[in-house]
Amino acid sequence: MNIAGKKRVPICILSGLLFLLPILAAVICLGIGRYSLGIKDTIELLASHFTDRQADPKELSVLFQIRLPRILLAGAVGAGLSCAGTAFQGLFSNPLATPDTLGVASGASFGAVMMMLFNGSLLSIQIAALVFGLLSCYITYSISRKNGRSGIIMIVLAGMVISAVFEALVSLIKYVADQEDQLPVITYWLMGSMSRASYKNLKLGLPFIIGGIAIIFALRWRLNILSLNDDEASSLGVNIHMMRLLIIVAASMITASSVSMCGQVGWVGLLVPHIARMIGGNDNRFVVPLGISLGAFFMIIMDTFARSATAAEIPISILTAIIGAPVFIMLLRKTGGVWG
């Protein structure tokens, strides 16, 4: 039934572990980088924020101004995208659904890239990405509505179309962009990077991610019901149209917001939920929290690797695919995919 049942680990210990995992990764990764710090130093520095102990201002600046926002962003994006992926896979009863199934990431990318073309500020890029991400979700949902209802297949097909349209628009912008300075920026941005993380960005973007995660987390058991067919789900007393809309909005908020802060980060939304299922079974009551924790953990590690493995930064999407794919294949071969 679930990991807690099989291994007889009390739920509270398990949730504690899940909660601690990303935090532990964050503390260790805070110390890693060109200016490296030990775990003890890191904890002392973090604590100095609350105590009177004098700390080296240079170390403080590295830790609080550069690394902490970046790690917060990575953790939030990893947790959010895994959560959104789990939600969409359940909602569409399709193990291949990703946070971008409704074209939200393509829409958000278009918004951001368009602002870059007009040399907009970082904040305007973020806002445009958010607006276009949610807009594409809205268009997708309205196309799929017929007689006040929208079938899952219609939603997925509409999503594919909207995604294709926005991808074409992104290509158009790349085509007309200045080849000397704009095109490289756009291309690099599309590959995804946490390097623009700042508290100002986080303030605008994090509430959407946290709000989305909270909604999906609260509805995680209902996700099991939504993955049944429509009539079955309705007959269990669930208002499927309302519930579907809530989950779509929540997942889209997460996706649009994370694209707005760090560009497209591929794979996490597919990879992590499946890893969570292989560990904990299919019950979304466990898959959702497990995915949130593993997603944050995975992304914090990946981003640390991206910024510190080589002298130049490696785009995050390249890493998630190159490291994620073999791990996924290995797990797939080993478990045979327990969802099957």
Binding site: M1, G90, S93, N94, P95, A218, L219, R220, W221, R222, N224, I225, S227, L228, N229, D231, E232, S234, S235, L236, G237, V238, N239, M243, R277, G281, N282, D283, R285, V338, W339, G340
Partner: protein, 262 residues
């Protein structure tokens, strides 16, 4: 509880599939719905529960139009057992059965200890405790059907609506399912509306029968009266022979299809 359909009609565009259907069931009664493939049996079930809207007519629960009853309240009284088909994700039997508690729980609530206990009790009643941790994707049709019935029982419904519960099952499993439905009606007074392809099964368990004909007409009445050779020939274009078998002091009915009639 009395469930009644009055003048139910349904169709797509101009073509009517179901026309002026009338029937009712009361506590502990079993109604079998018979009719050839494609005549609209599943559509009838969906319409009567409000999953599809009647074009004309109404479904009434104790005299109240069900479209005026809050969905949550309605689905605490009516439990739908769909045809057993594979799901995309393999939930364990226990998790699947627990989903039945949904209509009793708040939107953001998670099932608690008592919900799992209700689920285990329902599985115990159905004699499928051993399936507790088995994944639904790995089950046989018969096992999955039993799980779906157990899920319906966790609702503590007044009425079960079953869509061809014994199709695709072997002899033994068919008997198990039929006897389970019969036992639920006799012991707990749960009424049932059952779609079936087998007149024999209808005769075995049901008090009432509704026969849907290709030409849109229908017949409703006591099972033994309505299921006769003439009506079967009209509905299925098959000449049947209905035979009484007396064995060990019990009476069984056998329906033998003889030949096609045009």
């Amino acid at each position: 509880m009395r469930f009644e359909v009055k003048g139910g009609s349904f169709g797509y565009q101009s073509e009517m599939i179901l026309d002026d259907i009338n029937f009712w069931v009361e506590d502990g009664e079993i109604l079998s719905v018979l009719g050839p493939n494609g005549v609209g049996k599943t559509t009838l079930l969906k319409c009567m529960m409000g999953l599809l809207k009647w074009k004309k007519g109404t479904s009434m629960l104790d005299g109240t139009d069900i479209s005026r009853i809050k969905p949550r309240e309605l689905w605490q009284k009516i439990a739908y057992v769909p045809q057993a088909r594979g799901a995309a994700f393999g939930y364990s039997a226990l998790d699947m059965v627990t989903l039945g508690r949904s209509a009793h729980l708040g939107t953001f609530a998670q099932p608690g200890k008592e919900d799992y206990e209700a689920a285990e009790a329902a599985m115990e009643d159905m004699g499928i405790r051993h399936l507790r941790d088995k994944l639904c994707t790995k089950m046989s049709g018969g096992e999955l059907q039993m799980v779906l019935i157990a899920r319906a029982l966790t609702i503590s419904p007044s009425m079960l609506v079953l869509d061809e519960p014994e199709s695709n099952l072997d002899f033994k499993n068919q008997l198990i399912i039929l006897e389970t439905i019969k036992a639920l009606s006799e012991k707990r007074g749960i009424s049932a509306v059952v779609n079936t392809h087998y007149p024999e099964h209808a005769l075995k368990i049901s008090n009432k029968a509704l026969i849907l004909n290709k030409n849109g007409s229908d017949l409703f009445g006591r099972a033994e009266e309505v299921i006769n050779e003439k009506n079967m020939r009209n509905a299925f274009s098959v000449q049947v022979y209905i035979e009484d078998i007396h064995l060990d002091g019990k009476q069984y009915k056998s329906v033998v299809p003889l030949y096609l009639v045009s």
